[in-house]
Symmetry: C2
Subunit: 275 residues, 2 copies
């Protein structure tokens, strides 16, 4: 049997790697990349079969760079999965929480632990991502320097957990999408993602959205992103319920396209249970 190689952004111990193993079986090959865009390039060059990318966090919102790349690259969303990014304060072996002076993490790591951090006078230093922050403080090997990252990162880089589960919001969850080179549609697919830009005229956005109501299709989400080089025009990323083999859904899509300047079907996949 052909082995499967799946890519993600970040390093081992990241929440992206956790999302990957949520969705795929344990015996696949993984490949990690430096930047989100590298995952798309890897897919394009057939270095990986699929990629796993964070697209939205329930507290901090859309991960805009991933939205932009989904529109830019020739790929499709084939699935989704959810991960609760549980943050922990880590230090090198023997570090004391009260002696920390600097903490490294991704800005979202700081944002998600804001209430906990307000009790400390530490300097917060933004870094590439949570797992690389853990790796970096291991290298620095200084007991006054901490990182905010996952438990898995603590295990991987041999760090102490100085404070466990420091998230201010215990419901905090990140949605990840699985991307592939082609659409993968079967009868269990019940969620559709599209991206469109409307013609530059009054009422165009409304005219596009009205087809959802007319065909009784449930609109799940709208996210807007700027169109590059044409200031103050927008791409709208829309998620809605349905299977594109359903004639009503197919009709809605055809009708929507009429008022669109740009239209791309991003995928039709199985909706996962949110927590």
């Amino acid at each position: 049997m052909l082995s499967l190689t799946v890519g993600y952004q970040g390093v081992a111990g990241s929440f992206s790697e956790e999302a990957l193993f949520n969705y795929f079986p344990n015996d696949i090959d993984t490949k990690n990349f430096e930047q989100f865009e590298d995952v798309f390039i890897g897919l394009d060059k057939e270095v990986i079969h699929y990629g796993v990318l964070p697209i939205e966090n329930s507290s901090t919102g859309a991960i805009s760079a991933v939205y932009d790349l989904l529109n830019q690259y020739d790929c499709y969303i084939v699935g989704e999965t959810y991960v609760k990014p549980i943050q922990n304060l880590l230090g090198i072996k023997g570090a004391n929480i009260n002696e920390l002076t600097e903490i490294y993490s991704h800005p979202q790591g700081f944002e998600q632990s804001k209430t906990f951090l307000s009790n400390f006078q530490c300097k917060l230093i933004p870094y590439y991502n949570t797992a690389r922050s853990a790796e970096y403080i291991k290298e620095l090997n200084n007991p006054t320097i901490g990182a905010i990252a996952s438990k898995k990162a603590a295990e991987l880089y041999g760090l102490d957990i100085l404070a466990e589960n420091i998230n201010c919001n215990q419901h905090n969850t990140t949605r990840f999408v699985i991307i592939g080179k082609s659409l993968k549609i079967n009868n269990v697919c019940d969620k559709i993602s599209v991206v469109l830009s409307t013609k530059h005229q009054a009422g165009a956005l409304y005219n596009t959205l009205k087809h959802f109501a007319m065909n009784d299709i449930n609109l799940l989400k709208i996210e807007s992103r700027p169109v590059q080089h044409t200031p103050w025009e927008y791409y709208f990323y829309i998620d809605f319920e349905g299977n594109i083999e359903d004639p009503f859904v197919a009709k809605t899509i055809e009708q929507m396209k009429i008022d669109c300047h740009h239209f791309k079907l991003l995928g039709n996949y199985k909706k996962q249970i949110k927590d």
Copy 2:
């Protein structure tokens, strides 16, 4: 005459300070704050009369933290202004562009200069904002360390401009809003901003938006942000044309509220010309 004190986030030489002087006359007092939220707190505690905050960039999109704070604090948008954030590569006096090994800037500074930076092998270090990056490399006083910031920051911190106007997108513009403690409405106001969350039922978002079309009101922008502590519900920030003293506009707002769970009028102000 009472003097006016206006607050902004960042340090002297920042694009926020430039936006402030775009909107207000030169003889006002300014007060700078560390964080976006500090500007809102300053307004609340009557330390400042107005605040100036970036809300959206034409290339990189919404500044989500500012959207969230506008909903959270008891304040109103009383005006808007646009600034073109022109980025430059700065170094200490005598630095040579080919000898740089590290560059500090805000992640948006890197993003806006991506094409230019792709010609260099420098390590890019994310920092609080562009002007503070300039201030920091002045402190470091190392000819191999550069910063991406404004020309004004170069002047203020006595730095050399190693490369001028390095933006990949020459149309790049940031929209700023001016916030105050009360609504300031007169007959020149022609743009309205609201934030709402819809009831948790199929079609609720569509039912809210349909009133724009029914009353022939031009929808300018929709931005979505997560509702904290209730994962996967959204606040929609909507900009549209009109003056709330116009009976059609007042009626539209009353109708929209019916399908809303939360509704806040963020302001009615004069639309500025975009570039």
